[in-house]
């Protein structure tokens, strides 16, 4: 589904991501973890298209996307979330999601239609809110939602773009433990329908959820395997578990 | 050679130093503090008029040059402390709009206090006369203007590059929270920088007064040109503002010789070219 080869990003002399090979198989939830400064966020931005790689390649669904920008990748079916809550604050929850659904149509330059009455778009938006459990908040302004709900809305926006692959960047960042748990449960439910790449700092959260885990440190891949293998890996324990646990 | 071309070029440098002073102040405020100050030209005009009043009252132009930057900087401190900070959270658009209101107030206040007619002062007596150049001569005062501007621009540059506070200002721009942790009142520091920035504009207004005189709309005319200077030099680059200012002054002078009708348009054409070829400006980063 998603494959990187020798993916590298340099910032001056600093190599943030160093020749990383990752294979995300269809239908799996693949977590990328690592301590702060391991290069996770840089890797994520390379995958989503926010950053241009210094070397290597990215393939998505057998298509070389290395040179495509974020907008094009979104249209290919790579949907991303953001580490900080990133919604349209002064629009309603429904409008937030409707915009995302509208982006999949060819109606966005239509000047003579009414945005609120595109049936297919409305249906898609409602489905995304339903899926994420926010339908009850549809008329509220996004900025008025609680922090955890805003993060869910962020996810609903991404879902409404009909992605094949979800790229989630530290979704639990800054959430209370209960909210983080709630969000992770939602992500677990989504894993049945989407291929997911989840970047996460909070390792215990992803252990029970992931099919495969890649551990990064100093821009390189330290280990790769199932949660059980990762838990048993001495190098991972030394670099990561040892520090946080 | 009659010296006329040389005079034109020298005049271009004189005008360029004025642009450099104004744009250096603008770049401190705009590029480093990230405050869109559309009233920068109004501070320039106020500088000229305050200088006029000081000269009228005391007959001493040197005193005017010393007093004007302080008075204008003081006004800047008030504006920043009372309005710009408050509006920072509302966003840039509202900061622009507020400074736009200031332009209206300043322009009309000038008419009310000093009248709508142009004002002027004589060149200080010590600088009467000029350097002979062919059939014409180049006034000493203009040489003084270039030297004084260069001195002030250099002093501010040294303060930015070589002092602890300069380092903090530059660091504060990258990471205000980090600097706040060191225990420095960043807000106060930024307010002072705002004051210095508009003070430079005020000084430029005072320096140009004996050459061009003052008129209420002088700030507005300067504003668009100094935006072009900042875009050409690179937003946020102090060096870029200075080089851009001299470049624009010289371009105007050369165009005045070659094709006067296009001397103003040429600057904006140069600006458009820079945007297309090098959007970050000649000396801008990124």
């Amino acid at each position: 589904m998603l494959r990187t080869r020798e993916l590298t990003k340099r910032f001056g002399a600093h190599v943030a991501v160093d020749a990383v090979d990752i294979d995300v198989r269809p239908g799996t939830l693949h977590a990328i973890i690592g301590p702060n400064g391991a290069g996770k966020t840089t890797l994520f931005n390379l995958l989503s298209g926010e950053l241009r790689p210094s070397g290597g390649s990215i393939e998505f669904a057998d298509c070389d996307v290395t040179r495509l920008d974020a907008t094009s990748r979104s249209h290919l079916g790579m949907g991303r979330s953001f580490q900080r809550t990133n919604v349209f604050p002064k629009l309603t929850v429904f409008e937030n999601v409707r915009l995302a659904a509208q982006s999949r149509t060819d109606q966005s330059f239509a000047l003579w239609r009414t945005a609120a009455s595109l049936p297919a778009v409305n249906a898609r938006a409602e489905a995304a809110l339903e899926e994420i459990g926010l339908l009850g908040h549809r008329a509220q302004l996004a900025s008025e939602l609680a922090g955890g709900d805003q993060r869910l809305l962020e996810l609903a926006i991404t879902l409404a773009t009909d992605p094949v692959l979800l790229l989630l960047d530290e979704p639990s960042q800054g959430l209370s433990p209960e909210d983080a748990r709630r969000l992770i449960d939602r992500i677990g439910a989504l894993a049945a329908r989407y291929t997911i790449v989840l970047i996460e700092h909070n390792m215990p959260l992803v252990m029970g959820l992931s099919d495969e885990i890649t551990v990064m440190n100093f821009g390189r891949i330290l280990a790769h395997g199932t949660p059980a293998e990762i838990r048993a890996d001495p190098a991972v324990r030394a670099a990561y578990l040892g520090k946080t646990a | 050679m009659s010296g006329l071309v040389e005079i034109q070029l020298l005049n271009g440098i004189v005008q360029g130093m004025i642009y450099a002073l104004v744009a250096a102040g603008l770049t401190l405020i705009f590029g480093m503090l990230d405050i869109p100050n559309f009233a920068h030209g109004a501070f320039y005009a106020l500088g000229a008029y305050v200088a006029f009043t000081v000269v009228a009252a005391t007959g001493n132009f040197w005193l005017a040059i010393a007093v004007v930057p302080l008075v204008v900087a003081g006004l800047g401190l008030v504006v920043d402390a009372f309005a710009m900070r408050r509006l920072a959270r509302a966003g840039h658009v509202y900061q622009i709009l507020f400074t736009l209101g200031l332009v209206l107030i300043a322009q009309e206040a000038i008419v009310l206090i000093w009248g709508a007619n142009p004002t002027s002062v004589d060149v200080p007596r010590a600088l009467d006369g000029g350097v002979p150049l062919g059939v014409v001569s180049f006034p000493y005062y203009r040489l003084f203007l270039v030297a004084a501007s260069a001195l002030v621009i250099g002093a501010v540059w040294l303060a930015l590059e070589r002092t602890k506070y300069g380092a903090i200002i530059r660091a504060g721009i990258d990471d205000p929270e980090m600097v706040a942790c060191i225990g420095i009142d960043v807000q106060l520091l930024f307010t002072i920088v705002f004051g210095i920035g508009v003070g430079l504009a005020g000084l430029a207004g005072a320096l140009i007064l004996p050459i061009r005189g003052g008129q209420p709309a002088m700030g507005n005319e300067l504003m668009a040109t100094s935006f072009a200077v900042v875009v050409i030099g690179g937003l946020g680059s102090y060096l870029g503002a200075v080089v851009g200012g001299i470049f624009v002054g010289l371009t105007q002078a050369i165009m005045t010789i070659l094709y006067p009708a296009a001397s103003e348009v040429a600057i904006f054409a140069a600006m458009a070219l820079v945007i297309l070829i090098r959007p970050q400006g000649l000396f801008g980063k990124r």
Binding site: F82 | L87, L97, L102
Partner: protein, 305 residues
């Protein structure tokens, strides 16, 4: 819809109540300019500080079409509209290269450039004497050379343009503009080519501004250099903010009040801009919704009570 109906009635009755059809026509053309400006500011979140550029381009093109090409009035207005839109698309494309404030600066600087071009290009613009000799308005053989008749002609055109704009605001395209205003990066991430939408919005805003310019040129059969100068751009910004950027009706209200005040107060006290500047600063600091925002709040409170 009801608001629009009220607007139509007000516009239709205005000349019967106040007998200054020229002033009222000016309100309409300036109002259209403000509404066009607010498509960029209120909907897309971009402060265009060069709206007079497009107004002036439209006025000069329409006027020259009438003078030199003896074009029919609708055709001349259409030419002004197209020219305004084209100039705005070009300047918009250049201005949005940089983010935020940088773009505002560029629209401002390009306005000054346009002003100098108009100032120098006397054959087309008349320079600082203004462009004279525009033939009196006529529509399919019917003379509009009467202030009240021309007012009603302008009213129909402006109301149609305004209705079109309301439609655009409610369209999927308008929704994308609001997405850009609220969060440009997120809009890009969900797949919108933000740059294209911005340029299109500039073109629409410029087209309506060009139309306003054409209507204005025919009003006094004269295009002053002020039609394209920065003071006019500034006035558009001030009037719009005074009226309120939160609704398309706000700029219309602001334009009406601004035009009336600047025409009447300048006779009373020549330094009125001083007071105006103070009021404006107060609006920016304390009443960001403008007059329409205040009226809206009262209206809602009354509805609740």
């Amino acid at each position: 819809m009801t608001r629009f109906a009220v607007l139509v009635v007000v516009v239709a009755l205005a000349p019967l109540v106040l007998h200054y059809p020229e002033l009222e026509t000016q309100i309409l053309t300036f109002g259209l300019l403000a509404v066009a400006f607010n498509l960029l500011l209120g909907e897309m979140g971009f402060l265009s500080f060069g709206q007079a550029t497009f107004n002036g381009v439209g006025a000069y093109v329409a006027a020259n079409a009438l003078i030199a090409a003896h074009a029919a009035l609708p055709l001349a207005l259409l030419a002004g509209l197209v020219a305004g839109g084209a100039s705005a698309a070009v300047i918009g494309a250049l201005a949005i290269t940089g983010r935020g404030v940088y773009g505002v600066m560029l629209t401002f600087a390009f306005n000054e450039m346009a002003y100098y071009i108009a100032f120098q290009w006397r054959d087309v613009t008349g320079g600082d004497n203004g462009l004279r000799g525009i033939p009196s308005p006529a529509l399919f053989g019917l003379s509009l050379d009467d202030a009240t008749r021309y007012y009603y002609f302008t009213a129909v055109v402006v109301l149609l343009a305004f209705a079109a704009l309301l439609r655009i605001i409610d369209s999927p395209f308008g929704a994308v503009l609001r997405a850009i205003r609220e969060n440009e990066d997120r809009a890009r991430a969900i797949g919108f080519r933000v740059r294209r939408y911005k340029i299109a919005a500039f073109a629409i805003s410029g087209a309506l501004s060009g139309l306003a310019g054409g209507l204005y040129a025919e009003l006094f059969r004269f295009v002053p250099l002020q039609a394209i100068d920065l003071d006019t751009s500034t006035n558009v910004v001030i009037a719009t903010l005074l009226g309120g950027i939160g609704s398309p009706y706000g700029p219309l209200l602001g334009a009406a009040i601004f035009t009336v005040l600047s025409n009447s107060l300048s006779h009373v006290w020549s330094h009125w801009p001083l007071v105006f500047g103070l009021i404006f600063c107060a609006v920016v600091l304390f009443f960001r919704g403008g007059l329409w925002g205040i009226a809206d709040r009262w209206g809602r409170r009354a509805a609740h009570a």
